[in-house]
Symmetry: C3
Subunit: 435 residues, 3 copies
Amino acid sequence: MTDLEWQAQPAEGGEAMYSLVRELYPICRSITGNGVRETLRLIGQHIPLSIREVPTGTQVFDWTVPKEWNIRDAYVKDSEGCRIIDFHESNLHVLNYSVPVHKKVSLKELSEHLFTLPGHPDWIPYRTSYYNETWGFCLSHNEFAGLRDDQYEVHIDASLEEGHLTYGECYLPGESSDEVLLSCHVCHPSLCNDNLSGIALCTFLAKHLHSCSQRYSYRVLFIPGTIGAITWLALNEDKVKRIKHGLVVALVGDPGKLTYKKSRRGNAEIDGAVMHVLKHSGDPYQILDFSPYGYDERQFCSPGFNLPVGSLTRTPYSRYPEYHTSADDLNLVRPEALADSFSKYISILAVLEKNQTYVNQNPKCEPQLGRRGLYREMGGYADGREIELAMLWVLNLSDGGCSLLDIAERAGLRFEVIEVAAGLLGKNGLLKECW
Amino acid sequence: MTDLEWQAQPAEGGEAMYSLVRELYPICRSITGNGVRETLRLIGQHIPLSIREVPTGTQVFDWTVPKEWNIRDAYVKDSEGCRIIDFHESNLHVLNYSVPVHKKVSLKELSEHLFTLPGHPDWIPYRTSYYNETWGFCLSHNEFAGLRDDQYEVHIDASLEEGHLTYGECYLPGESSDEVLLSCHVCHPSLCNDNLSGIALCTFLAKHLHSCSQRYSYRVLFIPGTIGAITWLALNEDKVKRIKHGLVVALVGDPGKLTYKKSRRGNAEIDGAVMHVLKHSGDPYQILDFSPYGYDERQFCSPGFNLPVGSLTRTPYSRYPEYHTSADDLNLVRPEALADSFSKYISILAVLEKNQTYVNQNPKCEPQLGRRGLYREMGGYADGREIELAMLWVLNLSDGGCSLLDIAERAGLRFEVIEVAAGLLGKNGLLKECW
Amino acid sequence: MTDLEWQAQPAEGGEAMYSLVRELYPICRSITGNGVRETLRLIGQHIPLSIREVPTGTQVFDWTVPKEWNIRDAYVKDSEGCRIIDFHESNLHVLNYSVPVHKKVSLKELSEHLFTLPGHPDWIPYRTSYYNETWGFCLSHNEFAGLRDDQYEVHIDASLEEGHLTYGECYLPGESSDEVLLSCHVCHPSLCNDNLSGIALCTFLAKHLHSCSQRYSYRVLFIPGTIGAITWLALNEDKVKRIKHGLVVALVGDPGKLTYKKSRRGNAEIDGAVMHVLKHSGDPYQILDFSPYGYDERQFCSPGFNLPVGSLTRTPYSRYPEYHTSADDLNLVRPEALADSFSKYISILAVLEKNQTYVNQNPKCEPQLGRRGLYREMGGYADGREIELAMLWVLNLSDGGCSLLDIAERAGLRFEVIEVAAGLLGKNGLLKECW
């Protein structure tokens, strides 16, 4: 692994990620169907991506892979033939997974199939009905309020048929078969922060990791939420043991501060690594305990797996008003925020990559660092230099029970300094890796 | 067990408990004697109560059951034959367990046998001398100050003879032989909060528990303080292992906030249950660590037993000025406070009754709650409903290591919600009790 | 052990310690040489002291005992023959461990060998070069600023030759071969707080301990910093297991508040004893976690030894401006501060001496303290007396898992009260020592 590889260029990266968000924005995604396929095709232009197709009806633990949904057009026309709700204006207008329908309805009947957000009367809500076969339209509350008593033609030109659930997987082998999991959901239609931001970040993290050699193998999943995670876990149970650390990637493009939700274990190495990086970043952040609601950490952290997987977002889900509405658009996501998220993720992965547990080879008293050129020759100064302190901490705590990250935390020093100190000691034969 | 049984009616209950306090108030109780017998007879009109008589001289661990004390009359008369201290005005006037005496004494000699409270000159103190044979009178400091140099006739018409230590026990068998212990002391004469309040609460808790079927068996003890607890433990060592939870009941009638003193273990289920109920009650309360001073938790929590027994009072002993004085009277105890204490105790017992540890039968990923009608069909809403969140918490943490109470605490939800969620999951075969 | 022995007389002791500081002040000490020998000779007038001489070249773990350094004279003369820097004015003027030199140098060349403190222009810094053979002078920045372009004669009449490292050891056998270690460094020249204060305190602690019989054996080390501790540990590995508690003694003469730096273990008995004494002293103090920088606790707490050794100072090293300068002189150290430090150390050693773990011989319920005269006979009072509470705490927690110090901490009572309570219980056969 070349240290230099970690020297990412956040500013340019932010624009590149934002371009991908913009490219993916118009596509109507759902948990199955051609929207997901098209999305994965575009991702695949950046990174090596394996596309998996899992047939409808496949049993995945307590669930069954559903029928595949595809949509071509949808509208509501008034009696004058005017499209007053039009799928081509925004794919959020259609209740996601609506069954096909084509008929005339009164305003009363129509209203039973309409969804609005009275609290934000200009915005279209995002609604789904994956497992209950029905149809519906979403629209702004202002538009809804303007509807008059009329005969309406509703038409959803969709199909719900035997097919497949599609997901993408980018596996980047490293020195070890131990894996770091990065996972994002690809099932949301025209919503930017939730979760085109996550898709873009995962794509560019994978691209960057692919460009250099790593200690860990990396597995980056582009999966539909919930059913995709369940499907992946059901079909890959044999691989689960290899996952040593993981992050669910979502909501990484808004200007809010970073938020880390801990793994169910609460004290996994990934938890320590993220909290260390955030603490030393100088930027505001917040830490949340695990809860079984949110994104696919719900599945990765179910008790039968209990994987060391946390979730690093900016503003958490449902804590910003634009969440799951048409206002989660290209204005909410900022290239600088994407770049900052990228940089923090890279720092975290760097900690994981470089974290080791060593054993002091000269455990009785300090070794004479001075004769190895590791300690200044003149004595009597009031304080030690940071790198000297770091070496003393590494020597003192490397008894096989403390990793470099543990030492950094106890010493109150940045991981990078501790890691450099360990490198100097290792070169002088004073440390040995603990296997 | 019928949930409805727990629907107590606090307001009426408060008046009923207060009536019992009023009925018991005039009786001169001590650690032995007819005052205890009469008290137990009146309690026995409400609940099935076994009366135990333990002979004087019985060895109970390091102690010996003392002689039985009974008193008929006591007074101090001045030289004009006027009763200036009269047992029939207040039984607190006699040093409890005074030996019989009848003689003439000077003021000087009399004074050596008088007890007052200079800090509260209107109140009569409560004093005892169980294990040192002497006699004495208690009186207000104002009365004491008015005594003139005179010849006084002192007469205590009492007996201290071979007899019995008397206590009452109400055993209510439940589904399991595992027991919940409720214990109160019955040795105080005309004092209301300490502890007619505890006697009344225990009586009406027992009455209520008797009216419905329970999971646990309940053992409610009406015992003289210290020697009664030691006697019960000595004679019932074989039953001690069945006690899974316990509370010492005292000082539950004053208007102060509730105070829980933890068991010696500090982290027993009873400690968690009480703290959960108090935290979610919305009322002020305080939690104290265990200390080996106080009521009979001193004996139940001695190191050779170390039972999971805490003590739930309102204002703790000696922390209100009326404690152990004639001012701990029928005005200090309020029906509303008794009712509130009753309600809190019932809530705590309900937690114990319903607390269980379950194992998620579908531990890999979430089960599909929607197809069981346990999850709303429409998706995309910003937040989950409380009952859905509760189900996800129960599923996520039911790995055999967390009880419902543990889950409620970690989720920050009320036990009742968690318990209802577990019930729904159990009915759907998703949980199994962990034995 | 006689309790009375602990009744030290701090005031007189402060003056006596200060006299020793004044006597030792002029001597030019270093990590080897006659300055250390003379220092140990003077200490030996107070206590039984074994002097050890370890030959140059002896291998001690990763280090080698260095050549012995001795100095007779040193000066810098200007071209007029005037001593502008004179070793006899202050031994700090010479870079400690300078190699011999005698030559004429320009101001430019001279300047490369001069050390000053621009931030404190009146003070001479203290500098050393133990392991890099060079020469140098230290002087005030004001003197340095006054140097003119001239030819200077530099002369250091020193020797650096095969010889010995010298240290002193005072071993005071007690009832048990388990040891308490007290260690101070003797390598600093004319510096008072760092560490003539520590030498004086160790001397008078040893003198006091020698005057009475103890449970523990005491080992008091007077050693050069770092190399002395390493040498002692290397030559005494067989004795290390006997060390049950230890303190590194330094900086105990300034007026600052006491500072305890915990042992590497962080929860050793010595840590608890020191924190208990400081907490109950009523004086301000601070507690620091262990760090691998400071005095010889660096070696005693290296992972291969990990001894329960903390360090109790007043203001910590480098946290007062006079540290390692000529201003750390006889004015900085105060007899009252020495006396206060002495008194705190004695209190801590008293806790170690008297701390025991007992087992309650009557663990089921309380024993009847009253019939043993240990509890007042009259009942009903609002609160217990401190000694009665202490006895109840000792009985309740003496289950073999809690020492008296643990009990004192949990009870919130002073160790002395708990210890007296345990003594009373022990005399009555209610406690047995737990071996």
